[in-house]
Subunit: 390 residues, 2 copies
Amino acid sequence: MWAVTGPEKPRRTTAQDVAAPKRTSGATAPAPPRRTAPEPARRTAAPEPALRASAPRKTRATVHDVAAAAGVSRGTVNRVLNGGYVSTDARAAIEAAIAQVGYVPNRAASNLARQRSQAVGFLALEPHSLLLEDPNIGAIMLGANAALSLADHQMVSLVIDSDRDTQRVGRYLSGGFVDGAIIVSARSHDPITRLIAEIGLPATFVGHPPDLARTIPFVGIDNVGSARAITGRLMQTGRQRIGMIAAALDRDSGADRLTGFKEALGDRFDPQLVADVPLYDYAYGVKGMRALLDREPEIDGVFAASDAVAAGALETLREAGRRVPEDVGLVGFDDSSWALRAQPQLSTVHQPAREIGRTAAESVLQQIGGVEPVELSVLLDSPVVWRHSA
Amino acid sequence: MWAVTGPEKPRRTTAQDVAAPKRTSGATAPAPPRRTAPEPARRTAAPEPALRASAPRKTRATVHDVAAAAGVSRGTVNRVLNGGYVSTDARAAIEAAIAQVGYVPNRAASNLARQRSQAVGFLALEPHSLLLEDPNIGAIMLGANAALSLADHQMVSLVIDSDRDTQRVGRYLSGGFVDGAIIVSARSHDPITRLIAEIGLPATFVGHPPDLARTIPFVGIDNVGSARAITGRLMQTGRQRIGMIAAALDRDSGADRLTGFKEALGDRFDPQLVADVPLYDYAYGVKGMRALLDREPEIDGVFAASDAVAAGALETLREAGRRVPEDVGLVGFDDSSWALRAQPQLSTVHQPAREIGRTAAESVLQQIGGVEPVELSVLLDSPVVWRHSA
DNA sequence: CTGAAAGCGCTAACAT
DNA sequence: ATGTTAGCGCTTTCAG
């Protein structure tokens, strides 16, 4: 059809036409059924595998085809696609043509021409376990997505789960697929961090200030201050032997929470009463609490570095026959669903995760727009939520 | 100036150059070389990139620049980039040039030329709450990513959280940014489902068979059979009054689990003993269990449609003074972390989430490669895990 | 208001 | 082995 249409020279002979996968159809013998032999009778029951969609993907219509079908030039087609002055007749004809040939714009091509992608990458550099369970990062994603969506940008979230992924994502980031990136919990030495700086991709960090690059905007909360605040209230309510289950000391948030704890306690701080564990995780909460109980059976106040950790601690306390909050006061951090589900509900520090995501998105959007962020880092409010565990 | 450089014809006079904001400064100043302008002087020892990353993003080097710097043609550069015969000298020169000019390939352009993106979209069409907390979808993602990674494909996960998102993601999917897609828990009427079918994008569904399109591959588990199995064991252990908290009956998985429950019970099935709730959620577990307890105080066996639901039910039972498993046997579904964290740990049905992701990825990869999947749908094994709650 | 033409940065077929 | 030359599909001047 389009090949012979109009004055245009006969376009392409698409490689696909030539290289079309030659299936040796004759083979009636189906390859051995994969894994679990699904009793064919079960669900499926699709007797007509004929209508398959894939097949040699039909070569899609282009502006060219539309133009030809409408009897106008590509320029005009483009004008109706994106705003522009077009006569009503032409517009009608073109719209008809679009429908007729089933035209769907190729954004990729458009991006190349425009030199921008209208997309922003979202990377969470967390260990799997957290990626899977931490509701915070989900909320941050949703917040970021909402903001980007408003600005008509596509958020594409990229998972990094191996060195190979790091490479590939690096290529993706620097390959023109995104105009910017939001990076959650990067460490300074993360290869991606360096890359971002190198290629000068607009980006903002969340959850960990980029020591390395003091030049990249950061959105987060004041971990030190909040830890201080919640520990303070533990003191005010009369707890005498207050300990902490510190977690993830290798990352800023973890270290900061411990710092805040120390600051609040001042002279009363006793290193013996700090158990430290590697991750913000329920299981480590159990472990940490056991350690604390061992070292100081008289302990009557505990600040767990996160709600998940607190939940683990709570379980341990219960097993040890300690009542919460009567015998020991327990507080967490994050205000995640762990806090609400615990029995009793946990007093904790509220992390405005959604807001954080939104703010981060706005920050990259600004950068993309060429605006220097007024302040390199912004700390959002993270109020203490007083519930029943202390 | 650059117009007389080298043998290449004076490439484009980029519109921008003309339209460039005319600085009123001294006439001596050469026209500000915007974008492309292959002025040789450029790269050499970046003179104070002002440290900041953003600003007018420095115009990136292209194959052209590399070719020029190495004194070869673009074709040759391309050959060293992607495999091809290149003399050692040329290769060395080019590699040096690449490093010198700081060349980073523009994958977007390459994709356009090659007509493929080496990327696969991942969409989870779940209500937020689940997206945030359901560890299953995280595991599926990780599994899919691993498989795609092996095949050197980038997984890009797209979140749909509003109608606007649906539109945008639709454009993204049909805009040439991905070669295929993995779609988790779509319903037949989901706009995306239709779209996929329309544009004939290689795709496979997870978690819900596409009624609408019996033509699109599906990966999942046998919900009916597994529900039947676990309910059966509840019966075998002597429970007399067995009820179910059915959830999400509007989706296949939910409906199937109920079906399996009925099948297992046969004559003994009593509709009164089924409480149904809208979502696989802890809070609904609480609600559902209360309803059941109201209707039948003598209840001594409960099949909750998911572990989260079971956890809620467990809490309610505890509050009602029922001991598990002594007074009532309780089983869940999913084998998520809820099951392990519960006290006692839940007997449940194991969902091979990671495997599911992997399998789905392999399925789209096959389709992309032009291979028709041998079987349209594959059901993976989902064994019962017997623990302590029943 | 519309058409023509030059690109975006890279790939691939075709000559050397 | 290397250079040349068309494109990929869309955007954006610049004439008319």
